[in-house]
């Protein structure tokens, strides 16, 4: 349990607070729904970023990670941030933390059939999750993100699979995941922030709650387009700050609902939906090419384009 070491003292500390005694030291209550796992790795604190050129690169990497639309505009084609899914700016265990990703590369990926460097893996994020353009290897954006991830991974052995890597595995649901049940879960637990239409919400010109589908969300090639990935992420981390409160069944159902919506085209689209499904989506976790509400998901007639970086931003990198 993440906060087991302090949970036992929580009641005592609360009692002190009620008694009017100052409890000035931070105490760490039990995380709602936290499960019994080995203590995850703790990345270095933010104030441990060193001075100098390398530290500058790390800081830039974190800025890109938090606000890619501002600091990597030439490559971002939607309204998402890296930190929307990699929570706590890539630090949080169970939310695909960057420290665990960094030490996992180079690695073979079935997605493209060869050994990928870490930078090539980052390219995939821009191509799919950010529905943008791929920064060339060695591009300052990739160097900064690599530096930030390297910094976060300080002290982790390479090639291991540390606790907290990726998303926590979720048991298969008792009932087959269901779109209609998912719509109900969405309305009750997600729509207040992400909108009933899934398009997110903005304030003061900035996206606060990211769009989950539609033209400004991730495209059909993104990892979050996999119902399994989305269910695992949702169960561990959503609603934000209340991870673990949805049941596994609810998580599978709502992931199915979200991943059955219209979103930008897969950049690998061959020109034919059925063929694209056969080549890239031939598994039960993808709804691409399936018919939902009378429309075929991925049909170019109803599907926003892939790679929508405004020309003005692409020129001024």
């Amino acid at each position: 349990m993440r906060f087991m070491q302090v949970a036992a003292t929580a009641c005592a500390v609360s009692a002190l607070a009620v008694a009017g005694l100052a409890a000035e030291t931070a105490w760490f209550p039990r995380a709602a729904g936290a499960t019994e796992t080995p203590a995850p790795f703790t990345p270095p604190a933010e104030d441990a970023i060193p001075a100098g050129k390398f530290g500058d690169e790390v800081r830039l990497g974190e800025q890109i990670f938090r606000e890619p639309g501002e600091h990597a505009a030439a490559y971002v084609g939607n309204d998402l941030r890296c930190s929307n899914c990699h929570l706590d700016a890539g630090r949080l265990a169970g939310s695909a933390p960057m420290w665990a990703a960094y030490i996992s590369y180079p690695a073979y990926r079935s997605k493209n059939g060869h050994v990928n460097s870490f930078q090539e893996r980052l390219q995939g994020c821009f191509r799919y999750s950010m529905n943008g353009k791929v920064p060339p290897l060695g591009d300052p954006v990739l160097v900064a993100l690599e530096s930030y991830s390297f910094f976060l991974a300080k002290g982790l052995p390479t090639g291991e699979k540390p606790a907290g890597r990726g998303f926590p595995a979720l048991p298969k649901p008792a009932l087959a995941p269901d779109y209609a049940r998912g719509a109900q879960v969405y309305a009750e637990n997600c729509a207040a922030c992400h909108g009933a239409d899934g398009l997110g919400q903005s304030a003061d010109g900035k996206v606060v709650f990211p769009p989950l589908w539609g033209p400004r969300s991730f495209n059909w090639g993104a990892g979050m387009g996999s119902i399994k990935n989305a269910a695992e992420f949702i169960h561990a981390n959503m609603p934000l700050g209340m991870g673990g409160t949805l049941t596994p069944q609810q998580s599978w159902d709502v992931a199915t609902y979200i991943d059955s919506q219209v979103r930008p085209q897969d950049p690998r689209f061959t020109g034919d939906v059925a063929e694209t499904r056969a080549k890239f989506h031939d598994n039960p976790n993808s709804m691409y090419g399936r018919t939902v509400d009378g429309a075929v998901l991925g049909d170019p007639k109803v599907t926003p384009p892939a790679g929508t970086v405004p020309a003005s931003k692409a020129e001024h990198k």
Binding site: A22, D88, A191, C193, Q201, S202, A203, D204
Partner: protein, 256 residues
């Protein structure tokens, strides 16, 4: 105002049930003297004449006492909706109309337990609550008053929590739901920037103690559980000092 006195004021304002009688007495004196003065002024003022339909209804509720003995909202929340930040009376001007109306409804039904607000809210019809909510929502956000001076270290801690959260405890940043600099997002999250610090702190203390307060209070209860009492005071002080400036339009991409 020292911390204990401030706390006493707030406990009175929110009707917190576990407050000692002594605190309640001290707080009541301080609060009633101010509110009483404002109320007297409101009663002495000539009854304003309003033209129009819904705005007049809202303005009437806001500015004139009700036949049930309810004081004008403005008696405590001020005619410009600024509230009284130092004693924890929240600013209403510029909050989302749906948010204000929802809270009035929760006061009226007791979902949000508050001894002061409950009878006032219950004396209003749903239409009146909606109208007065729209009235205050439409008021320009008043220029911020000088915040209560606070130690730099406390404000720095508050800023860190507000803007970044705390990865060690799984605490998300306030801005992740309340928007950049806490401007609020549609009807879902209220504006925090420039809100009364004692008011924010009291709400957080109540959530931390397990209060749900409203149907969406489960979110805030989970968050407040990750804050120490000192962190609550720090983050509230920081939010209170955020400059609000002119009204910033919120855009909701999602339909309600």
């Amino acid at each position: 105002m020292d911390r204990n006195t401030a706390k006493a004021h707030i406990h009175v304002m929110t009707g917190c049930s576990n407050t000692s009688a002594w605190w309640g007495f001290v707080g009541m004196g301080g609060w009633m003297s101010r509110a009483g003065l404002a109320l007297t002024l409101a009663l002495l003022a000539p009854a304003p004449v309003f033209a129009g339909d819904d705005p007049a209804t809202g303005a009437t509720v806001a500015m004139q006492p009700g036949s049930s003995g309810r004081p004008a909202c403005a008696a405590c929340h001020s005619a410009d909706g600024a509230g009284q930040a130092d004693v924890g009376i929240p600013r209403l001007a510029g909050l989302h109309a749906s948010y204000i109306a929802d809270q009035l409804g929760h006061f009226a039904t007791g979902v949000r337990a508050n001894a002061i607000m409950a009878p006032y809210a219950a004396s209003l019809s749903a239409d009146e609550r909606r109208a007065v909510a729209e009235y205050f929502a439409a008021l320009p956000i008043p220029a911020p008053v000088d915040p209560i001076p606070e130690p730099v270290a406390k404000l720095d801690r508050g800023m860190a929590l507000f803007q970044r959260g705390d990865a060690r405890t799984g605490l998300i940043a306030c801005t992740q739901c309340h928007g950049p600099n806490g401007v609020g997002v549609g009807s879902f999250t209220p504006r925090l920037a420039g809100q009364s610090g004692p008011y924010i702190a009291e709400q957080l203390h109540r959530w931390r103690a397990g209060d749900i307060r409203d149907p969406r209070g489960a979110y805030m209860r989970a968050i407040a559980a990750r804050l120490s009492p000192a962190d609550i005071e720090a983050v509230a002080a920081y939010a209170a000092g955020l400059k609000t400036g002119e009204t910033i339009e919120n855009t909701a991409g999602g339909k309600p």
